[in-house]
Symmetry: C2
Subunit: 480 residues, 2 copies
């Protein structure tokens, strides 16, 4: 008999029809009630076993973590907590799970620390929390593709291995096939990359933006959604060495269009999660409430998870210039009372996390788009404003998350771009093709990057970025 | 005035309403007819200019490759080849394109070789051919996500940097932050990876399968769609060092379910392209017909592109065992006439491309699924059949492409898997977590990998895999 997903069975009207499901045992109460889960949904199906109808050997194998195939009649449930249940007539044990061994793993039915769960990242997706997180992550991914598809964007795969290190977004990982034991140096004492696979030094990409610009200047509206890398020794709850980034790039969009796009995009994908993941979100909301019970009132979230997501969808993001932000910060209580680690006294200072948090969490209490930053603290490719000192950059700051988007209108003027590169010592030969985009039909264009894991953090209410990606890569950790 | 995409304008009923479009000049005929394209569609919009109404300086800047913003009344076209056109009242030149410089690039309006186009991969997307290819590629990507989303799969991001090199699918790229100039060797004369970013040797993944298995054993149905890597020195029209792979993995699926899934999946995404990309496909079909005109009759495709895609959607894939395939090959004309470079005389031989092509292109003339391969020529994780000598592997072979899918039912029995690993010298410590999946609720499960670029090759009728990915990475080439 063809099996069906537990999600489908739970949505079926019970008419005593025969159904077959597969799944893993979450619990087996009173030698009678199996709670079975197959990952298709957070919820388990209750399978009722008349123990005198089954062989003792079979019954003994029904322990937490075992994989079963169960057949029986789907009937209305008499118990609480579920509408339907299966009156079991047949059980096949796919695989057992020795209770003594299970005890040593995160599969054992008790509360485990998130640290311990990370050590068993190959099993943690079987827990309610991680099942919920990963289904929400998947739904958000789909929402991203759907949003861009519906809005006329082409999905563009930026190269992962890159011969360029000019973007300067961060430290890079080297990619090589050279044998480190016998690296040959040339006469100048440098590594001879002619021998390497690509015949030159290559790295893992930090961003697909520059290549996406090339594609936007042909296809008009494009986006990337792929892995990017930072070889930075940051052991924080907000950084990964390998993470997924979404980068739309649009020809003929200026910075205002770019802000409109980013805001509409974020609202749309969060709305998708609200429309499609309510069960998992409600569970994650409950988890967060429980976790925060042990915290002092002032550290608890002001809004519950779902309310917070609705707030983002329903309210305009606040848009202010960097200059306005500096004014607010300079006159703020924490600045005057010298509570900031980095006091704000003059225009031009790079904003630190404490400043961003003040603006978003205390002052505006909503997502904030900061724009028109000082040129000096931003990347070379951002368009210089007429004032000669600010660039058309924007960052979107989220409560509890900090920077979730960084973007800009790009410098489309060949001469301005060249002099900027020269000033920063970026050789033209390195980016000849990027300059070509300004030689042949250049135009205003803009884009941004959204750190996907930060969005998942926000949507799931989790506190550590290592808990929203299946197998996190961080300094000293590439397990699995 | 807000601009709209050319695709939208071309689909609008002309009522002399004002429209504004942006795009690049494809041609400017008789100082009067601008063909403008913005990448939203293959088609250009005709913009009619009364040259006496415009400044000579503006008119001189309207050359091939220049970027313009054009405003005017949308009217019914009097000319052939388009239904609507714009009677231009206003032109803004975003960026010029010096005709002397354009002459040296692939933007110049004449036929360029695919090799020359590859050298200017940053510009080639502006040509009709590459615009069409990349829109089809994007549509196929979306079709993949949509198919899995609609069928209850969770999108799972497999790690790109991996500490494991056990899968043995091919040569790997090393990922490191060590300075090759001063690599420190330990007492045993080996590189000391404790100093490296992850504290151990790490590589770029060749497949997300093993990790996807872990996720399937929790979420039930998962898939990856991400970049994978091979550091193989293969300079062929079918191989890339960096390519995108789709890998579904399903708990409780056996090999038959796996074949059903693969066939349904491929048909569904090809159908999506037929339903959504007809304009681009028709153009690519024409391109292929033109290209093949110079070939002798026997080397030309038997079916035109769109007919070939329809054939795949409408016909069952032929399923035969490896053993049956060997019988067919042994008794085939080319084998008897010693036309194969590798004659087939006994069971157990690995099939070469010439054999696969014979089966698919000459014998069956349709996609073929070969299954139940000799264990000796397949990977360690494939499930051993009861005969003790074959495994539940399957390959899908496509006309003109060769292997497009490789998959299997996985070995779910801990003891069998362990002895297989031991025989092959794969240390258990390396894959402790993979073995855990067989300790805790193991179950039948299956999956496959589809090389995305091979699918794009098939769908676009292109001949070289370097022409269906934006920026190809191959030996000695990581430009852009």
């Amino acid at each position: 008999m063809k099996s069906v997903s537990i999600k489908a069975v739970l949505a079926t009207a019970p008419e005593s029809q025969q159904v077959t499901v597969n799944g893993w045992v979450k619990s087996f109460r009173n030698d009678r009630f199996i709670a079975l889960n197959d990952g298709s949904t957070l919820k388990n199906i209750q399978c009722v076993v008349e123990s005198n109808q089954f062989n003792e050997t079979i019954l003994q194998q029904i322990t937490v973590g075992a994989a079963l195939k169960v057949t029986g009649a789907l009937v209305e449930s008499q118990g609480r907590g579920q509408t339907v249940e299966i009156q079991v007539t047949d059980i096949f044990v796919h695989g057992t799970a020795d209770p003594e061994e299970v005890k040593l793993t995160i599969l054992s039915p008790k509360k485990h620390s998130l640290e311990f769960l990370r050590e068993q990242a190959h099993l943690r997706v079987r827990t309610n929390t991680f099942g919920a997180i990963m289904r929400v992550r998947s739904a958000l991914s789909f929402a991203i593709h759907q949003y861009f598809n519906q809005n006329g964007f082409q999905y563009f795969h930026a190269p992962i291995i890159t011969g360029s290190d000019a973007e300067g977004a961060g430290e890079m990982f080297k990619v090589t096939t050279l044998d480190a034991k016998k690296t040959s140096l040339n006469e100048a004492g440098e590594v001879d990359y002619k021998e390497d696979f690509f015949g030159k030094e290559t790295n893992l990409t930090v961003s697909g933006q520059l290549e996406a610009e090339a594609y936007a200047m042909g296809l008009g509206k494009v986006y990337t959604f792929g892995p990017t890398f930072r070889a930075e020794n940051s052991n924080t709850s907000r950084h990964l060495a390998e993470f997924w980034m979404v980068e739309p790039e649009v020809a003929f969009n200026d910075l205002n269009d770019n802000m409109d796009l980013a805001e509409d995009f974020i609202k749309s994908v969060v709305r998708y999660a609200l429309d499609n993941c309510m069960e998992d979100l409600a569970f994650l909301q409950e988890r967060l409430l429980n976790e925060e019970k042990s915290k002092p009132q002032v550290e608890r979230s002001e809004m519950a998870l779902i309310e917070k997501l609705r707030f983002v969808v329903d309210n305009d993001f606040k848009r202010i210039t960097y200059t306005e932000a500096i004014d607010i910060l300079r006159n703020s209580k924490p600045n005057k009372k010298k509570k900031f680690t980095y006091p704000i006294d003059e225009w031009g200072a790079d904003l630190q996390s404490e400043h961003e948090r003040f603006l978003v969490e205390k002052h505006f209490k909503c997502p904030v788009i900061l724009f028109d930053y000082p040129a000096k603290i931003k990347a070379f490719y951002m368009r210089l404003n007429e004032d000669g000192k600010t660039v058309r950059a924007m960052d979107i700051l989220f409560p509890g998350i900090g920077e979730i988007v960084g973007g800009s209108q790009r410098e489309e003027r060949l001469d301005v771009l060249k002099s900027k590169m020269e000033a920063l010592g970026i050789p033209e030969e390195e980016l000849w093709w990027y300059l070509d985009l300004r030689k042949f039909g250049t135009a205003v264009h803009s884009g941004f990057g959204l750190g996907f894991e930060r969005l998942v953090l926000f949507a799931t209410g989790m506190g550590n970025i290592r808990d929203v990606i299946p197998f996190p890569r961080t300094p000293q950790n590439a397990e699995f």
